[in-house]
Symmetry: C2
Amino acid sequence: MSGAEQAIALARVPVGVPVPEDFALITLAPRALEAGEVRVQAQYLSLDPYLRGVLSGRHMGHRCELGAVVPGAAVGRVVESRDPALQIGDTVIGEAGWRALPIMQKPRRWDIDAPVSTSLGVLGMPGLTAWAGVAQIAKPQPQETLVVSAAAGPVGASVGQLAQVRGARAVGIAGGAEKCALVKQQYGFADCIDYKRDDFAVALKHACPNGIDVYFDNVGGAVLEVCISMLALHARVVLCGLMDQYNQETRPKGPNLGPVIGARAMLKGLVVYDYYPQFDSFLSEMAPLVKSQQVRFVEDISVGIGQTPAAFCRLMRGENRGKTLVKLLDDYA
Amino acid sequence: MSGAEQAIALARVPVGVPVPEDFALITLAPRALEAGEVRVQAQYLSLDPYLRGVLSGRHMGHRCELGAVVPGAAVGRVVESRDPALQIGDTVIGEAGWRALPIMQKPRRWDIDAPVSTSLGVLGMPGLTAWAGVAQIAKPQPQETLVVSAAAGPVGASVGQLAQVRGARAVGIAGGAEKCALVKQQYGFADCIDYKRDDFAVALKHACPNGIDVYFDNVGGAVLEVCISMLALHARVVLCGLMDQYNQETRPKGPNLGPVIGARAMLKGLVVYDYYPQFDSFLSEMAPLVKSQQVRFVEDISVGIGQTPAAFCRLMRGENRGKTLVKLLDDYA
């Protein structure tokens, strides 16, 4: 059994955009494993926007108590096992929390020929989210126009690339010229519009002259409203995230749904948890696309568990570039 | 060829709730039929909320010009035919306008064993709308709770009854105690909640203790917002009407869609025109249900074309009871 470990606890419930002082570095005393559990040496921690809702108790009813270790997924190596299916040295992904030696129950084993960090990004939960929305819900067709917001993030980037693999035209929405350039140059989107521009709606309309056939929404708010006003006949909208309001205390009003009627559009709420039973189908499509670089990914890596709060706060301010990870151990030799 | 006829023209574009002075009684001189047309002696004119949008040019891009006859459907008998498929004396339904002797192109022939007025209501466009939403989109299952707004109207009444025929539990929403009593007593809904009550949301929650599995929205606005906040897992929402804003000059903001994500709900815009190819399938289900009185209907009948503006204004104030019709001729012997 290993010794004490470092972890990050919630010091206070964030108000608005989180700040590093909302978190505290603590030391956890070790405890013995129970049957079915494994102890993991975490290599990468995954930082994701949904955690903001958890901190306020608004994410699917989950709440992080004050003083408790902040939740989150991680990938790492099994260093102690009371699960007969997992051996010491196995690489696994699971719910961990922001800590160095998490204890996991029934983690997924990683045996894909790709960098281990991708297990938390393009070949992990964000990639599965994108695949669920594109391949299972919206099904963009050749010649159709797909628009995705937060296009520079790991979900949005994969949404657009999966659409383009299917022959559709991907138009991104992101905040600022630098992110828009990333979306076009790194991910190969046909276009990307900066929602901070005064003429955002005009520019988006110009980029989508035949309207929007598929809109994958990660943000809600004013961006969703503009996209709904441009839906083409029989459009599909995947409602996946509300980045626009994660830092707000109350839920603002939403878009008028009149255009949804006229377009005969379909809107569908997407929660990625529902698609974990299809993880193998997802990987069988996505892993070869990543290997062949038809789907590219960008990572925003901080080093050391003490950097986790600052990295999360940057993510929640939209200052990250690509999938936000915290590296605790060097990659395996 | 027949002589001059009375008709109702648009005198000015209504602002807000229409008033009778927005319309004018005119006399139309006869004109000769062209090939493919039939002249019809109208028996009933159909008054429907979608016309409000036409008067403002907001309904699917259709607009009624000033001075033109107000559009609308009617049922009547063919009195002159240049359509080889239709004989004098045939009963037909088609786009007519508010006039006594409309000229129709390719009207539908009526050969159902039911009162001819039902061709404009429970066995016509409103019934088809209800059937499309229930049988083709939302598909309520036994034990599920379906909620429908404007439940005392011809669409809403049929929605709830079709749901109950399928074993679901129908809860209506209507304005005022009298309409709610009609919905429960005439149409047999399990419950009906008055949206004008201060405690509307609490009362609706009480009537739907397990949440809303299907919501058929005819109104938009605050009622839609409350219903979206109560969606059960995997709920379906049919977006069909915006009665709440037909009389408004600008489109108000809509509901926050956060609960749609959590519920994994599906929202779908319904435009009844898309379902006319399935009219026979609709009638083959609905006509026997009407005959056996498993689906009941109520009609709000005014007499004489001069009453049409007043009847339409009552409809747009929500003061009608059941399907709004104007009777121009007595029923056939």
